[in-house]
Structures are given as structure tokens and as C-alpha cells.
Amino acid sequence: MLIEGQDNQKLSRVGARIKSRVDQASDAADEERVSSSQFIPGLFYPTDHSGYAQAFALKRALIEKHDGKALEEVTPGTELVTERGTCYRVETEEGVSIRTIPPKRAKESLLTDFKLLHGVRETTERALKERGYRSIADLVEHDRFGTQALRFLKLVEMRDSGELIEWVGRRFTRSDPLALNASGFHTPDQLLFVDLETLGLFTSPIIVIGVAEAIDETLTVRQYVARNVGEEPAALEALLSHVDASTALVTFNGRAFDVPFLEQRLAYYRIHGNLQRAHFDVLQFARRRWRGLTPDFKLASLEKHVMGARQSDIPSALVPEFYETYLRTQNAGPLVAIIDHNRQDLVALAHIFSKVCEG
């Protein structure tokens, strides 16, 4: 008996040490996120300590407010049952109308930029236009550029937005405003706005998968919440149920973060799903659109610039901390704050997307 007691003591010492190392690694990753100029986080980061202090005050208030209440009482939703278990679905409707680029304008913008063809630069483009070529469609019979022009024209006619983004990416960058035109080939209801709340940077579990879809003047937000780590696979299944052949993804920094993160989690659970599709990463377009007008390109800064500041919110760096408090105390308060935060992010994302599409 004595031996067993000692073993437990030893293991718990080892466990406590590894826990502190994981926390250190997590803090280091946060610092890296904040200081890295390449990696611009999707969400709000307080750079001063008052932001954290406010957030902790908010957490205390939430815990008090929700003392003894279950999530299901505080945030109405339904338990979703999938083949891979359950998760909690929260559905809300927001009065946001999504404006996209009119298909005609999109088509015109894409077809009039000859530099999209390999081998064409400013001078060649000017020369071609002087000779009367107005559109890439006019070039299909051209000796040198005909084959390419035909292929490009087909993509435009087939409205293959995914391939078009890649095409623009090969000639310029995928963040070139030209690529955004490809979104014009989607009706608003084919756009899937996606935003994740996670326990950490890569290889950690996902807490909330938020998706938003626009129908008429309404933005329907559906959030798939993992009430514990075991509910993550169901949330992933739920996300995939929103994706079909015509879906295009809209994210904020999703090329660097949300999509690879989701792919890693899908592979982790061996769930088959293809997220390699037309994808509009609003961060990229916003950078060009508002360069010099906002202090940085955090979603919160853009949101403030485009639609004014939020009332109460938690810093995204504290999402893991809030979630861990929720798991530990089973008090719904901190989780409610995460769900609210995610919904506000999705709404902001939809607004900013509309704004960049307006041009």
C-alpha cells in the first residue's frame, strides 16, 4: 500500500511538471503570436494589461451570474447527435445582409486584365489593347496567348472560383483584389463564413466551430460547441455538413490558421472531408484595402474602423483560460463568453467581407 501511495505521489509530481511546461509552451506561443509580424491573429489581442484585467473582471462577473446554471439553461440550443458523438448547437439570426461583387462586374474585371496570362506584362498588355483586344475572350485566337486565354475563359464561364483564385495566385498573389472577384461567381448563400475558437495553436482541440450563412437579409449563425473535449468530432462532422460542391469559405486568416487547423483535427479523428476549395481570406484583402488606415490588421481593429467597437468581449488569448475554468468549475459563464465572442467575430467577418466587396 505504501508503495502505491509513493508511486502516485511521484506520478503527480511528474504530471504537475509537465502541466507547467505545457502552460509555458502555450504562453510562449501567445507571445509569438503577438510579436510575429507575419502571423496576424484573427482576433482581439490586448497589448496592455488593462485589457486582461477587464477580461478577468468579466470572467468573475460571468461566473457569479451563472452560478449553478448549466449551459443549456443560459444559452438556448440543441444537442446535436452525429455518428461521432454529440455536441451542442447554438443558432442565432443576425440582421446582416451580405453584398457580393455582381457577377458581371467580376467577370469584366477578370477578363480585362491581360497580365493574368503568362508572358504578358504592362507593355504587352498596352500593345494588345492598342491593337484592339478588349477582353481575354478576344484573345482566344491569338497565336501566342490563345491557348491560355481559352483556358482562362473557360474557368470564368464555368465560374470555377477555386481555380481562378489559384490562377490569380500564380500570376500575382492570392491576396490580389482580382482574386476577390471570384467570389462574385457565388451567390451569398453559397458562402460559408467560418471561425474557430481553439484551446491553443495547432494540435490542440477545438472548442467552438462557428459558421454563418446568408439568406436574403439574414445571417444565420450556427455554433457547434464542444462542451468537453469528447464532443470535438461531432462539431467537425457538423461543420462538414455545411460544405458541398458549391461552397466557398470565407475566413479571417483562415489560410494560415483555421483551415490547416481543421485539417489537422479531421486527420486526428480520421474524418474524411475536403476543405481545399474556393477560399476567400478576408485578412489578405483587408490589408490592401485599409493599409495605413488602421493601427494594425487585427479583426478587432478593422471591426472598430468599419463598424465601431464591441461592448464587452474577451481577448482571444484568454479563450483557453476561460474554457479551462469552465471545465474545472462546470460553471457556464466563461463558455458563454467564448460563444458570444465567436458569434461577434463571425458577424464582424461578414461585415468586413461585404465592405471589401463593395470596393
Partner: protein, 734 residues
């Protein structure tokens, strides 16, 4: 003298694939018997461990059958693991040539920390041979889905220079390999293993511990060997010695070079490697200036491009003499040399033979010389050469049941894909369910319907270091140009302000050591002196966690802090001290876990009565205990440290401390606490039964003593150990 031997060839039972045959023909290679055996065993689907000596053609022994298989099976892939990036790059060249001549398309690629990110996706999707290192693999495994093609088709895993993976580092690599195997099985492959290693006492057991597979040993060397002379050179044969061993090593180095022997001189430290080269150059300058340009130093810390240049110049024969740290001990391709000098015993028999193996090319005779230093360990080998030639090699020990190491890798595995019981017990035979339960208590794992899932917020792999490597890197700048990099401990020791820093045979004086920005500013100055730091080492008990009685012997276990303070430095001209300066540096603190016990007063009294030295007795007992620990707690001797003192301020008694050489501790002292009675007993038997007179490497001499094995008193050590063993076997008086 090691006699010459004719090559032993063998015929292949099955013909070698024409493509690979073309390579062998073009290079004029006929396979030796051990290479044929390795090929046959691999073709039968066996896992092999190749333990033939340096330069016996180990690489070819596995490259031939692997290329044949990759030629036959067009999707098959292979992973080659090397302990360093330099070795990976060397192997890349070999594989590229093999690919070119054999026309077997394998697209060999190095994938490590230096691989630019834009090249990575292509390697993941198209390379059939990937060369990497354990550190990179550790961080790559969570991204396995991007490696699906590679892992699903993985046929071979080659672990070269595997003897490096012993002790704590080896135990970490062994569990890393288990994680890799679990992923292979997830993607439906079951690769064969090839382990290539220096000669060990336990190659088969080592292979099994390292990978969890069963091995066939390939050890009968069929390669030819020319005659090799092995000289033990003792500057202190008369007991006094006229010059320092370093000077003697330099003289030999020059003597060999002047006699047209291309010579590699291994030195015990970076500084000595530089100094021996510098002295040799200066001396050559006076008589034969052209020779001076053909002497260089080589060591870690140099920029990779510098190292490549020196390697290349050594291969081409442009350099006739190179001094080096053990950086050239592993199989970097520098060709074979005429002579090797080892300035001081390299610390292990394994290293001694690896270093000596650098000499000897083709049919020409070669020379290996071990210069004995003044310390008792070196002197022992000088007087007892049988210990070098007849004695057994070290055991390479791996522990698969260390809680600290296992818990970390179980957590990493859970972050790769969910763990399941009992399925995954095959990969983690010890402590799997206990580890998972503890991780769950810490909120780091959760038992879900999908299996055990990692639930921490940080990257699991970042919380699990494979080795005690310092992550704080200092840059040495000379007029804004990056000269080299140093880790923190080295920066304190070798680059304090005023220190003379030797770099490629030039002297630089440190102007400032900027601890905040980790920058060392130096200026190039021609000085004829060098510096040597002076430090004090203190061990302080931070917290006693446990007191464990074994009979009447009470052993404490707890957290200690080892504090190294660099208080000043000496300036020396050759070996003469010409000045002493003081230093104002903050202490280096290292927190770890230790066990300690007070040595009973009876022992002290008895030692005094017999007119023996208690300091030497404690020190000797400490060394002997450390020597016996690896086999009991399953680690390498270099993983643990010790301190003994006749009166420690925290215990107010003569005390022996034994601590883990890893920041925060890694469970070695902790395990030894449980086994201390046994360890004390066998240590007593070892020392009392040792036939030496005043001590030897088999009992109280330590190859890693910070005080040159002084003071030591074997008889006093026996008294101390007898008393401890008696206490341990006495009935507990509680």
C-alpha cells in the same frame, strides 16, 4: 599493433538488381561478407543492427538493399535518421550519387530545421528517401497527415550512429520511435529497421530497446584492414613530466605532420583544439611557413560553411593537420587519415575506438596515439593498456519505464491521434494507463468515446525536450560580423569580458558580454596569451521532498540548486600563469532533483584513525556510486552528476549528493532513492573487490570529474562505503 587483415568477400545468393549493380561496377566496389549478410537479412524481412568498426562500409551495407527495394517497389519510401544536420547533409551527397548512377529515382532530401519552408511541401509529397534528425521528427509527427503518402509507403527506417541515443536522450528517442511506429501502423505500413552503431557491449538488446523490434546482428567485419599502430604516449611516465600533456600533444602533432602524415588531433575542449592548432601553426611559421597554412582547427560553434570548407580541404589533402573536438568523431566524411592523436582519454571506450578509427586508409599502415594526461584515469590506461584493448565496450542503456520521459511521450502520442487501450500498450509497454490517468488529472488528456485525446492548450511536443540542450544562444560579433555562436554556459565560461576567444587559429579579445541581448562583442587582437576562467560550484538544498530510511541509512530526496559562479580568470602564456583578473558575472543557476545522505560519524572517525583522507574517501565513494547507478536506474553516466563535501552547510555533516544532469530533474536520483541500499551494497563490493591499488576507472576514477579525479583515497572510500552498506543492511531502528 593491430594486425592487417585481408578482405573477406562473399557471393550473393540472389543477384543484385542491375541498376544498383551498375553503381557498384562504376565505383569499382565488390561487397564484403558483412555487407552481403546485411543485404540477405534485409531481404528476408529482418531488422538488422550493424556494429562493424568505423570505415567498414556500413552505409553501403544498407544503401544497396534499400535502393534495390525502392527500385522494385515504385512507391516505397525510407527514412534515414542522423544525430546531426552535418551528417544528414553528408548522407544526402552519398544518396544523390547513388541515385544518379543507378537511375533509381528516390529524390533523396534532407528535411530538418534548415529546410526552407517553400521546399517542404514538395519533399513531403515526392521524396522517397527523407533524411532527418530526431529533433525534427519529434516536431513533425503531429503533422502526420501531411506525410500520409510517405508514412503509408514506409519500408525502411535507418538509424545511423545509433550509439549516440543512449541514456536519457536515448530513452527519449526510443519513445519517439514508438510514436513513429504507431503512426506507421495507423497508415498501414510496418517498416524494417536498420540500426548502425559503434561497437557496444549490448548491440542486440540496445536495438530492441531503441525500437521495440527484434534484431539480427551483423558484426563480423569483412573489410580489409591495413596494419595499425596504437601508441600509448605517457608524458608522465617518470611520474613528473617535463611539459604539459597539451604541449606534448602539439609536439607529436607537428612531428607527424613534418613526417608527411596527414593527422587529426582530438582535443578535450574547444579551447584546447584551438590552442594546439595555434601553437603548432606558430611553431611551423618559424621553420616552414607553408606548412602553417595547412594546419587548422575544427569544432562545433563554427558556422556551417566554415566547417564544410575545412572538411573539404581535409578530404582533398590540402590540410595536413587538423585539431578537433569530438565534433569529427561521428562519421562526417573527411576521408581517412594517416594518424590520429587523442590528447587525453576521450571518456568512453566507444569514443576511443571511434576516434582511433579515423586513421587508416586502404592498404597503408596507420597510427593512433593516445596521449595520457596527468589525472589518475588517463594514467590508469597508460599503465593498464589491457583495459583499452581487451576490456569490454560500454553498455548503451535505455529506460522505457522512466515516468518523466514516458509521460511526456504518451502526451505527444495522444496529440498525434487518439490513444486506445489496450491496443497501444504494444508501443508503450510500461506505464501507459497510469500516464494517461495522470494526464487526465492534470487536464492534459481525456478519455473520450474516440479514445484518449490530448486536451492541453500548448503544443505537446514543445513541452517535451529530447535532450538537455540549452536554448539560449549567444552570438559572437566582430565588427558587426557574426563569428560564431555559443550556448549560455559556454558564453560564461569562454566569453566573459577579457577572455581570449580562439577562432580558426586567430585570437580575439572579448570586449563585452551582453547578457540581455545575448551578444558577445570581440575585437581581433594578436595576443600571445590565453585565458582560463576560475569558478566555484555550490550546491544548495532548495526543498527536501522525501526522507527514505533503508535500514538505518536515511536517504533524502529533493530539489537542489547547483550554482556556478565565475569569479575571475587567469591569463596564461603557454602553461605559465601571468596574471589573475576578477569577474563580476551573475551566477549560473541550475535547478534539479538530487538524493543525498549524511556519512555517519563512525566512518569519519575510522578514516581519521587509519590516517586516511576523508575528502578523498567521500569523493571516491561518490564516483563509485555514480559508476554503479546507470545499470540500476537505467541511464548513462553522463546523465548524472555528484558533489561530495566534508561538511555541507545545509546538512552540517559530511554529505554525498547525486543529482540529475537535466534542468528540473528527470527521475534518475528519484529512482536511485528507492534502490540506494542495493546500489550502496554493490558499490562496496565493487570497490573492495577491485584489484587495483589506489583506484582505477573500474572503481573510483570518473571520466567526467570536474576536479581531475583529485583528491581520491581508495582505502577511505572503502571505509565510507562499508559504513554506508552496514547502515543500509542494519535493521531499521524505528
Amino acid at each position: 599493433m593491430l594486425s592487417a587483415r585481408e578482405p573477406i568477400f562473399a557471393e550473393t545468393a540472389e543477384e543484385i538488381a542491375p541498376n544498383v549493380q551498375a553503381y557498384l561496377r562504376k565505383k569499382g566496389i565488390r561487397l564484403y561478407r558483412h555487407q552481403i549478410k546485411a543485404r540477405a537479412a534485409l531481404r528476408e524481412g529482418k531488422d538488422i543492427v550493424i556494429a562493424t568498426p568505423t570505415a567498414s562500409g556500413k552505409t553501403l551495407a544498407f544503401n544497396v538493399p534499400i535502393f534495390e527495394e525502392l527500385d522494385r517497389e515504385h512507391n516505397a519510401t525510407a527514412l534515414y535518421l542522423y544525430p546531426t544536420k552535418a551528417l544528414s547533409n553528408d548522407q544526402l551527397k552519398v544518396l544523390q550519387e547513388l541515385e544518379l548512377i543507378s537511375a533509381v529515382r528516390v529524390n533523396p532530401s534532407v528535411y530538418d530545421g534548415d529546410t526552407p519552408s517553400h521546399k517542404r511541401p514538395k519533399i513531403r509529397t515526392s521524396a522517397r528517401i527523407v533524411i532527418s534528425n530526431p529533433y525534427e521528427l519529434h516536431h513533425v509527427l503531429p503533422w502526420h497527415y501531411k506525410w500520409q503518402r510517405f508514412l503509408a509507403n514506409l519500408k525502411f527506417i535507418v538509424i545511423d550512429e545509433a550509439h549516440v541515443y543512449r541514456g536519457v536522450f536515448g530513452s527519449n528517442v526510443a519513445l519517439l520511435i514508438r510514436r513513429l511506429r504507431r503512426l506507421c501502423s495507423y497508415y498501414g505500413s510496418e517498416p524494417q529497421f536498420v540500426i548502425s552503431t559503434a561497437t557496444l557491449a549490448n548491440p542486440i538488446e540496445f536495438g530492441e530497446k531503441l525500437t521495440g523490434r527484434t534484431f539480427t546482428l551483423i558484426s563480423e567485419d569483412g573489410s580489409p584492414r591495413a596494419r595499425k599502430y596504437f601508441v600509448l604516449y605517457n608524458p608522465y611516465a617518470d611520474g613528473i613530466g617535463k611539459r604539459s600533456a597539451h604541449q606534448e600533444a602539439k609536439d607529436l602533432f607537428l612531428l607527424f605532420i613534418r613526417n608527411h602524415l596527414q593527422t587529426l588531433c582530438f582535443a578535450p575542449s574547444r579551447k584546447m583544439a584551438e590552442l594546439i592548432a595555434l601553437w603548432a601553426k606558430n611553431e611551423a611559421e618559424e621553420s616552414t611557413p607553408l606548412l602553417a597554412d595547412r594546419i587548422a582547427a575544427y569544432r562545433a560553434g563554427y558556422l556551417p560553411s566554415t566547417r564544410r570548407r575545412i572538411e573539404e580541404r581535409l578530404r582533398s589533402g590540402h590540410l595536413v593537420g587538423v585539431t578537433s573536438t569530438n565534433a569529427l568523431e561521428l562519421g562526417i566524411d573527411i576521408g581517412s587519415l594517416d594518424a590520429v592523436i587523442m590528447a587525453g582519454y576521450p571518456g568512453t571506450i566507444i569514443s576511443t575506438w571511434q576516434q582511433a578509427g579515423r586513421a587508416g586508409r586502404g592498404q597503408d599502415e596507420s597510427l593512433a596515439t593516445l596521449v595520457g594526461f596527468h589525472d589518475p584515469l588517463d594514467q590508469y590506461f597508460m599503465k593498464h593498456p589491457g583495459a583499452l584493448f581487451g576490456g569490454s565496450h560500454e553498455h548503451a542503456i535505455i529506460d522505457l519505464s522512466n515516468e518523466y520521459i514516458t509521460l511526456g511521450h504518451v502526451m505527444c502520442a495522444a496529440a498525434e491521434f487518439p490513444l486506445r487501450l489496450p491496443r497501444d500498450v504494444a508501443y508503450f509497454p510500461a506505464l501507459l494507463s497510469e500516464s494517461l490517468e495522470e494526464l487526465e488529472r492534470q487536464g492534459l488528456a481525456k478519455d473520450t468515446s474516440n479514445g484518449w485525446v490530448y486536451s492541453g492548450s500548448g503544443r505537446a511536443t514543445e513541452a517535451v525536450p529530447l535532450n538537455a540542450l540549452s536554448s539560449q544562444i549567444f552570438k559572437v560579433l566582430c565588427e558587426g560580423r557574426l563569428l560564431e555562436t555559443l550556448d549560455k554556459t559556454r558564453a560564461y565560461r569562454e566569453a566573459h569580458s577579457g577572455a581570449v576567444l580562439l577562432h580558426e587559429g586567430e585570437t580575439y579579445v572579448v570586449e563585452q558580454l551582453d547578457l540581455t541581448n545575448r551578444i558577445i562583442s570581440v575585437s581581433k587582437k594578436n595576443v600571445d596569451y590565453h585565458t582560463e576562467p576560475m569558478k566555484t560550484v555550490d550546491l544548495r538544498i532548495v526543498k527536501e521532498l522525501e526522507k527514505r530510511p533503508h535500514g538505518a541509512l536515511v536517504v533524502s530526496f529533493g530539489i537542489v540548486e547547483v550554482v556556478e559562479q565565475y569569479v575571475g580568470y587567469k591569463t596564461l602564456r603557454y602553461d605559465q600563469v601571468v596574471g589573475i583578473e576578477s569577474l563580476d558575472l551573475p551566477p549560473l543557476r541550475f535547478t534539479t532533483m538530487a538524493l543525498w545522505f549524511r556519512v555517519p560519524d563512525e566512518a569519519v572517525t575510522q578514516v581519521a584513525n587509519e590516517q586516511l583522507d576523508i575528502g578523498g574517501g567521500l569523493h571516491g565513494a561518490e564516483h563509485a556510486l555514480i559508476a554503479m547507478m546507470p545499470l540500476h536506474v537505467m541511464c548513462d553516466r553522463w546523465d548524472i552528476g555528484g558533489v561530495s563535501t566534508t561538511c555541507h552547510p545545509d546538512t552540517t555533516a559530511p554529505t554525498i549528493f547525486i543529482y540529475d544532469g537535466f534542468e528540473g530533474g528527470i527521475g534518475l536520483a528519484e529512482k536511485a532513492v528507492e534502490l540506494i541500499a542495493e546500489i550502496v551494497t554493490v558499490t562496496r563490493e565493487l570497490v573492495t573487490g577491485c584489484s587495483c591499488d589506489i583506484g582505477c576507472p573500474a572503481c573510483i576514477y570518473s571520466p567526467k570529474c570536474g576536479n581531475d579525479n583529485k583528491p581520491l583515497d581508495k582505502q577511505a572510500a572503502i571505509v565510507v562505503l562499508e559504513q554506508l552498506a552496514n547502515l543500509a543492511s542494519a535493521a531499521s531502528n524505528r
